[in-house]
């Protein structure tokens, strides 16, 4: 991905943090996704207004012992995959106002 990348959670999902994994249900297909801790951090921070690079730098690298370039590459892979399933929305501009998010991480 070149340039800034903004990510937002789709309104078509329901999500819940269970243990240390994020469970995501895509409706109405009833497709279930599970994110590991890094994926969960990115998902939770996907507010549509924070660039992915900033999420990686300030959330991922600060919580996990990983270099920025490596973390960014992994994050881009996760985002691309989730966007392909309709779980995340991706844009080169802020996704603002944010969509009506499904309930997350109680």
């Amino acid at each position: 991905m070149s340039g800034k990348c903004y990510v937002a959670r789709s309104s078509k999902i329901a999500a819940r943090m269970m243990g240390n994994e994020m469970m995501i249900m895509l409706a109405p297909e009833s497709t279930l996704f599970t994110l590991n801790e890094v994926g969960s951090v990115i998902f939770n921070a996907a507010d549509g207004t924070t660039p992915l690079e900033e999420i990686v730098a300030e959330r991922v690298c600060s919580e996990f012992d990983v270099e920025f370039d490596v973390a960014l590459k992994d994050a881009e892979h996760i985002v691309k995959e989730l966007a392909g399933h309709g779980v995340l929305l991706v844009s080169d501009k802020p996704i603002n106002p944010p969509l009506a998010f499904a309930q997350v991480a109680r």
Binding site: K12, A14, R16, M18, G19, M23, A27, P28, S30, T34
Partner: protein, 271 residues
């Protein structure tokens, strides 16, 4: 098209599962007698059915036979279709109509679908699980076909009361979760007892060479539970409700992995 009115119905029967009485009316008394026999124990004489279905019976060759079930919401009504039946239900009017041939299987499927929709509204669900009550508490044994649901029911000690060997009914109420008996029988071919009990635990079944109980993490428990919950509706609201219900359930009810051999001693581990 058959009328929604029950005025011309020659016979009816009220079947109460999970505390929801549903009246089925038709112009064929023989069909109603068959239902009374099949659902014995779940037939009530109540006049206060919460949902009224007219059952319009068609010759068997006029139906298309089994196919994929389709449950969709359209203009405030639920449309249910599987080839061997077509049904619609208007929740706000609490009325509907079922079109099928005079067989017990189609209407059994419609009842399952309707109950999944009713339960989704209140945080409950139907789940592929056998269940039994012992010492006043209900235990569920969930798993896919062949996992051992019926085996666990067969191995139950004499003081256990069978709720079902196939489809368990989980209702969320103010003071917690309750399991209800259902007439949805599996290989055992025996209806459950029409009773309820507070739910003590859910065991995910796995056949093995020894009996052992292991705790499950929340994520693994959620995944396994969701795999076993019945959800027919391709509807965002219902899918979300079921997802939330499963997650809430996992947070409140102990879920364990039960590896077992077909030996009655496995019940010594159930508590």
């Amino acid at each position: 098209m058959a009328s929604l009115s029950t005025a011309s119905a020659a016979a009816d029967v009220v079947i109460e599962i999970g505390g929801f009485p549903i009246r089925l009316s038709t112009d064929d008394p023989t069909f109603v007698e068959m239902l009374k026999e099949r659902y014995a124990g779940f037939v009530t004489s109540g006049t206060n059915a919460q949902i009224e279905f007219d059952v319009a019976l068609f010759p068997p060759d006029s139906m298309l036979g089994n196919g994929d079930v389709r449950v969709e919401r359209e203009s405030g009504q639920w449309l249910m279709d599987r080839g061997d039946f077509r049904a619609n239900w208007n929740p706000s009017a609490a009325r509907g109509i079922i079109r099928q041939s005079a067989n017990p299987y189609s209407i059994n499927s419609v009842l399952r679908i309707v109950h999944t929709l009713l339960l989704a509204e209140q945080g409950g669900f139907l789940v592929h699980a056998s269940s039994a009550v012992r010492n006043g508490r209900a235990f569920l044994f969930a798993g896919v076909s062949g996992a051992g649901k019926t085996t666990m029911a067969r191995l139950a000690p004499p003081d256990a009361t069978l709720l079902t060997d196939e489809i368990s009914y989980v209702s969320r109420q103010k003071d917690g979760y309750y399991a209800y008996g259902t007439p949805f029988a599996g290989d055992l071919g025996r209806l459950g007892e029409n009773m309820r009990a507070p739910l003590a635990a859910l065991y995910l079944l796995r056949k093995g060479t020894e009996n052992k109980v292991e705790p499950l993490g929340a994520a693994e428990a959620s995944r396994a539970l969701l795999e076993n919950i019945l959800c027919f509706a391709r509807d965002s609201e219902v899918v979300r409700s079921v997802f939330e219900a499963a997650c809430d359930f996992v947070c409140r009810v102990p879920i364990r992995r039960l590896t077992f051999t077909p030996d009655a001693r496995v019940w010594e581990m159930i508590a």
